[in-house]
């Protein structure tokens, strides 16, 4: 009973922080669930993947409504992300927990690195004659038209993102979004919306595998998912996206600590 509320509170905090910082909750959830509540990593992954589906559906509905999602491109790339998630999910239920801790630690290090931010590519965006579409910026009203470049490379990155998502129960946006923006030529907003859109069905693919193996446990997954959903909603109401550099730095330190925790578990005797 108490634990249920504590897990709910953790989900609430993670959902709120995630929506303010623009990162998915999975990278925070899994270290917290394993570290604070002693939940084994596969059940933590199961709880996380459920939350990921929930937040992707909630945000996806909003993005589609605002016209930011490139639905057709998403459906093409989903072939790669779901195939990756299938392979990742199958691997995750087979390998030892140590391997999962190790890979998770390494992915966390990459997330810290990627949070330094990259110069998003917005200048040279134009129609290419391949899957061209356009959207209107909800704030400025400006219309951006863009097309897709390097689709095969995007498929490769999507497979990798799906693979990591299936293996570790995180969304995988941290892999896809930079590639979609820098290589495929999507504007940042469209890249985020489209990546988020794909995450739902990607996570569903591996969630099915986790469910069948009993790693989606109601006692952890239900309070987590409800907490994250509510936290994300509160986060958007309270703060929207926070640009504070200080918050980001604190956050990077926290993630580094988490990465260290995961790596220690991977190599602990």
């Amino acid at each position: 009973m108490v634990q249920t509320f504590l897990i709910f509170a953790v989900g609430l905090a993670v959902g709120g922080l995630g929506s303010m910082l623009g990162i998915g909750g999975g990278v925070l959830l899994i270290p917290l669930l394993t570290g604070l509540f002693g939940i084994d990593i596969r059940s933590a992954i199961g709880a996380s993947i459920i939350s990921v589906i929930a937040t992707s559906s909630a945000a996806g509905a909003v993005y589609v409504e605002r016209g930011l999602t490139h639905t057709r491109l998403a459906m093409v790339l989903e072939i790669a992300t779901t195939a990756g998630a299938l392979a990742g999910g199958m691997t995750a239920v087979l390998v030892s927990s140590r391997v999962l801790y190790l890979v998770f630690g390494l992915v966390l290090l990459y997330v810290v690195f990627s949070m330094r931010g990259f110069r998003s590519y917005e200048q040279g965006i134009h129609a290419t004659g391949n899957l061209d579409t356009s959207y209107r910026d909800p704030l400025t009203g400006e219309v951006t038209t863009y097309g897709i470049r390097h689709l095969p490379l995007g498929m490769g990155a999507s497979f990798l993102a799906g693979n990591i998502s299936g293996l570790l129960g995180i969304g995988g946006g941290v892999v896809k979004v930079p590639i979609m923006n820098l290589v495929m030529g999507l504007p940042m907003r469209a890249a985020i919306a489209t990546s988020n859109f794909m995450i739902g069905v990607t996570a569903a693919t591996s969630a099915i595998i986790y469910y069948q193996h009993g790693y989606i446990r109601p006692d952890s997954a239900v309070p987590t998912a409800l907490g994250v959903l509510m936290g994300a909603r509160l986060g958007t109401i309270i703060g929207g996206r926070v640009r504070s550099q200080r918050l980001k730095q604190i956050f990077q330190v926290v993630l580094l600590v988490f990465a260290a925790m995961m790596l220690v578990r991977a190599f602990h005797v």
Binding site: A61, R72, I79, T82, M90, T133
Partner: protein, 200 residues
């Protein structure tokens, strides 16, 4: 007929007479011709040209917001043809269907999970650490068993994005858009493998 934008043939190389001025209005941000859009011969004739962004996509309420993406494709000073209207109507359908499925799927699953949580806590049970199989869960719902509600809630949540893919597949079939029907079918095939062979 395929309504996909990148497949729309460019009817002729001549730029639409209405286009340059429209481009200036938009600060040159959009070049309808490079977007692969057909410039129609009818453009030579005086046809009604919508110059304003009349749809009011800024409004976040009401149905208008749904049309924003497609409508600004249409209103860059280009004459609106019946084909445009048809294309707009159909793309509109896909987006609306996706929005409805995601919203209702999420609402149904969270409601079911909450009901399960309340039932379990009200009957003094601990929240279970495993979910019943699907058939047991269906039977359990009838006897107001909390853990059955939790399982159904999970399954609804997992099904939500899958239903979205099935819905898109059906829309593409209806539109005779075979390429995208095949794309969504491939995703469904991978999901099927996950369902059938996920057990190991």
């Amino acid at each position: 007929m395929n309504w996909d934008e990148q497949k729309t043939p460019v009817a002729n190389g001549d730029p639409d007479p209405a286009t340059p001025s429209a481009g200036q209005v938009d600060g040159g941000a959009v070049q309808p011709d490079s977007a692969g859009r057909a410039s129609t011969p009818e453009a030579e004739h005086p046809v009604p040209v919508v110059r304003e962004r009349a749809a009011g996509p800024e409004s976040r309420t009401g149905k208008q917001i749904h049309v924003s993406v497609d409508l600004h494709d249409l209103i860059m000073g280009m004459p609106i043809t019946p084909e445009d209207v048809e294309r707009f109507r159909r793309r509109h359908m896909l987006g609306r269907m996706i929005h409805a499925l995601l919203t209702w799927g999420l609402a149904a699953s969270t409601t079911t999970m909450l009901a399960g949580l309340v039932l379990e806590l009200a009957t003094g049970h601990r929240i279970p650490d495993h979910v019943p199989q699907f058939r047991e869960a269906l039977r359990g719902v009838l006897s107001l068993d909390g853990s059955a509600f939790l399982a159904i809630g999970f399954l609804l949540l997992i099904a939500t994005p899958i239903l979205r893919v099935i819905g898109a597949f059906l829309v593409f079939l209806y539109e005779h858009d075979w390429r995208y029907a095949a794309v969504t079918f491939a995703v469904l095939a991978i999901l099927f493998v996950s369902i059938m062979f996920g057990k190991g």
